[in-house]
């Protein structure tokens, strides 16, 4: 007898419909084979399915069983075919009819229970788009899939429960989406109020957060670069619904959504170490997986010790920094992962770290310093809007002067300003399919950043004085746009441009 069970295979952020055809033949020597380009994990599925059925007190038919994963020419991977295969065998053997327009997806444990499986959100999306009504998935991922409204999600604990449902003895109740309570909680290691001094750096980070600008902090060890970066998530506004869905899809594909969790509406904060591999950071692999830059989509990618990252990795980041997505091409497939992140980089000014330090002396020769700086190419620096020099703070000054510590603003109140600036931007870019000032292209700048004669004069002066390149000129206007948004000002004023000049790259 032949049964067809519908399931899905993930390819990047897409799901391809897969028919799992199970045939339990009445004749032939007993055996169990899976065909249709299965990988190792699927080939081993035989043993898992067999043991899981036996553990669930369901007799495993001692007949010739053939499983075909169609279409046969797409390579398939992952353990999510365990459930459809098991369902197919049960249905064949016991004659249960399967509910119509249903998808089965999930990995089996040897004891017959279902394990957390990656990609269920993508599956639910696929189900909705392709007109399926029900999806049967492991219970642990139910809340992840339930983000998508309009389809019945059946959370499965084990095969026995499923059998009872199929035989209509005891029906499983469709899952209801549970909104997480801690969703609005702010996740940051430090509060901005904990950082003493560093007024300009904090202001720059605030601007960066509001406009989604990339920022580079250069300073001696112990100056507080890492601390400032780690306080950044605390001032970032939560993700909008569209953004949250984009982010959650990537995490679902990467299998990084913990059991029971759901929509990610906190901007992700990723800080890969500089020894991480190129594939780990950019994405790729034989079956292309999202890298850190995609996991940081709509959030922050913090690269500490920026100069220490291999040049090849930084160069590979150029295209995603510009376009906001990464295309991985393989002979069999082309996968597009979104990667619109805010780059926060920190670096030492020289190999010893003490160049320009107020107290310690730098021991590097000029040539070594130049070589060190050259490790980051011009095109990468060009894509960073805010450049900040950070100097260690004299803690004594703060312990002696109580006044200075009294007025430290906390992350919560900074976040309010960031939020209102973001809302202004969202309104402005409603028809442009971008969200932030940092994403503005030349035609957006022309449209939204009207420059008066007076300001143009100042910019010309600055171009001469600071030897600004054409690209830095535009970067200054973009940053000034964000500063103007803080003031809720329709036009960019002189003081906005003047402040933006503070954050220019001083290397040119």
């Amino acid at each position: 007898m032949l049964t067809k069970v519908k399931s899905g295979a993930s390819s990047g952020l897409e799901i391809l419909g897969i028919d799992v055809e199970v045939n339990v033949a009445k004749r032939g020597l007993p055996g169990f084979d899976i065909v249709g380009l299965p990988n190792k994990a699927i080939a081993e599925s035989k043993e898992r399915v067999k043991t899981a059925l036996i553990s669930s007190k369901i007799e495993f038919p001692s007949k010739k069983i053939i499983v075909n994963l169609a279409p046969a020419d797409i390579p398939k991977e992952g353990a999510s075919y365990d459930l459809p295969i098991a369902v197919g065998i049960i249905s064949c053997e016991y004659g249960y009819s399967l509910p119509e327009k249903s998808l089965f997806f999930g990995e089996l444990s040897l004891d017959g229970s279902l394990r957390h499986t990656k990609g269920t959100l993508l599956l639910a999306l696929y189900a909705k788009e392709s007109g399926f009504k029900n999806i049967f998935i492991p219970k642990d991922c139910a809340n992840e899939a339930a983000i998508i409204k309009g389809i019945n999600i059946f959370p499965l604990e084990n095969l026995i429960q499923l059998c009872a449902h199929l035989s209509k003895q005891k029906l499983i109740k469709p899952f209801v989406y549970q909104k997480k309570i801690e969703d609005e909680h702010l996740f940051a290691e430090f509060d901005m109020a904990e950082i003493l001094g560093q007024e300009q750096a904090k202001r720059a980070v605030e601007i960066a957060a509001a406009g989604g600008h990339n920022i580079l902090m250069v300073g001696s060890p112990g100056a507080g670069k890492t601390m400032i970066a780690k306080a950044l998530p605390g001032i970032l506004p939560s993700l909008s619904e569209i953004e949250a869905l984009e982010v959650t899809k990537i995490y679902s594909a990467a299998g990084q959504i913990p059991a029971g969790s759901s929509l990610i509406n906190i901007p992700p904060f990723r800080s890969p170490h500089h020894t991480a591999s190129s594939v780990g950071i950019i994405g790729g692999g034989q079956r292309p997986q999202p890298g850190e830059i995609s996991l940081a989509h709509r959030g922050v990618l913090f690269l500490d010790e920026f100069n220490e990252f291999p040049r090849s990795v930084l160069e590979a980041m150029r295209q995603p920094l510009e376009d906001g997505y990464l295309t991985i091409s393989r002979s069999k497939e082309r996968i597009k992962y979104p990667a619109r992140f805010m780059l926060v980089a920190s670096a030492n000014p020289c190999p010893c770290g003490f160049l320009n330090h107020p107290k310690k002396e730098c021991t590097c020769s000029l040539r070594i310093i130049q070589k060190y700086k050259k490790r980051i190419s011009g095109p990468i620096l060009d894509r960073i809007d805010l450049h900040i020099d950070i100097q260690p703070v004299d803690l004594k000054e703060f312990s002696e002067n109580q006044k200075l510590t009294e007025f430290l603003e906390n992350s919560f109140s900074i976040r309010k300003r960031v939020l209102s600036a973001r809302q202004i931007q969202r309104k402005r870019f409603l028809d442009d399919s971008i969200f932030t000032n940092a994403e503005m292209k030349n035609h957006h700048i022309k449209k939204y950043c009207k420059i008066s004669k007076e300001i143009e004069k100042i910019l010309q002066q600055a171009t001469l004085k600071f030897q600004l390149s054409a690209r830095s000129y535009l970067k200054i206007i973009k940053v000034a746009r964000t500063i103007a948004d803080f003031d809720n000002s329709l036009d960019i004023q002189i003081n906005h441009i003047a402040e933006a000049l503070q954050y220019r790259s001083k290397e040119e």
């Binding site: 007024e199 000029l366 600055a462 402040e499």
Partner: protein, 292 residues
């Protein structure tokens, strides 16, 4: 390529007076101007120039070069290269003495400065022919010529046992005047300077003192603002207050420090500082701001 030998009329007179240390043959590049060897001052110092070193070199060498002194130095990066550069900016004359063959540029990456010296009536000098590679022993020999060409030597920053002290020793041997610029006692670059002061070098704090030695006048330089026009503190604009504050702090102030001093948000102080920079009132070096 041109050269002169001891017997030539054009051979620098001062360099003839150093006895057996006089180089037999001297190669040069550039246009020979008979006045260039007249009032020579060697300006040398540390390769690891601090911001302070750069600041004082810029200030004092500008005045010296525009008053007509020829600035002689060793073309090394740090104080040497800065002195050459500043002399050129001030439309003054400068001579670079190379530790390598006349056809080499060392260090190579200062090629731009090299060309600028040549195109601005400066002179490149070496006692080594063609493409002789620089060696450990050619640097002190180069310093001998730097000191030998000059009536006086000005040392800006020097570590202990540094090349600048070798130049000072040559100067002492040739009975040339030694000027030094004192630095903060906490800096390594002040150690060599302290040693020289103890040995009798003349510490200076303005170009005037050197010019007096050469019997020259400060020309083409804006005099200090007249002290009469002192405005009471309360009536000063914020720009004036910042200028006053920066004048007091020789080591400069960062934007965060200024924000604390004036109890202003850093965004506002940033606006003011940008505008002051554009007006040319202050300049930024590294993290700190200085009075221009």
């Amino acid at each position: 390529m041109s050269f002169f030998i001891i017997k030539d009329k054009e051979y620098p007179k001062l360099l003839k007076k150093i006895g057996k240390d006089t180089p037999e043959k001297l190669y040069y590049k550039g246009i020979l101007d008979d006045k260039i060897f007249e009032n020579c001052l060697a300006v040398v110092g540390s390769r690891r120039m601090t911001i302070y070193g750069k600041q004082v070199t810029e200030k004092i060498v500008t005045e010296l070069a525009s008053a007509g002194l020829t600035i002689v130095s060793g073309f090394m990066y740090g104080i040497d290269a800065t002195s050459h550069r500043v002399a050129l900016i001030a439309n003054g004359r400068t001579i670079a003495v190379m530790p390598c063959g006349i056809d080499l540029i060392h260090p190579e990456y200062q090629k731009e400065l090299y060309n600028e010296i040549l195109s601005n009536n400066g002179l490149i000098i070496s006692e080594y022919k063609e493409k002789t590679q620089p060696a450990k022993w050619t640097y002190p020999q180069r310093n001998r010529i730097v000191a030998g060409l000059s009536q006086a030597v000005l040392i800006v920053e020097a570590e202990e046992k540094s090349g600048s002290l070798i130049t000072a020793n040559w100067a002492k041997k040739f009975k040339r005047k030694i000027f030094v610029i004192p630095g903060p006692i906490t800096s390594k670059n002040s150690k060599g300077i302290m040693q020289l002061i103890k040995e009798g070098a003349t510490p200076i704090s303005s170009a005037q003192e050197i010019l007096q030695y050469y019997k020259l006048q400060i020309t083409n330089h804006k005099l200090q603002t007249n002290p009469k026009s002192k405005i009471p503190n309360s009536q000063m604009t914020i720009e004036q207050k910042i200028l006053e504050q920066l004048k007091r702090e020789s080591l400069g102030l960062g934007v965060d420090e200024l924000a604390r001093v004036f109890a202003m948000p850093v965004s506002q102080i940033g606006v003011i500082l940008s505008m002051m920079q554009l007006k040319g009132l202050i300049k930024q070096q590294g993290i700190k701001y200085y009075v221009n």
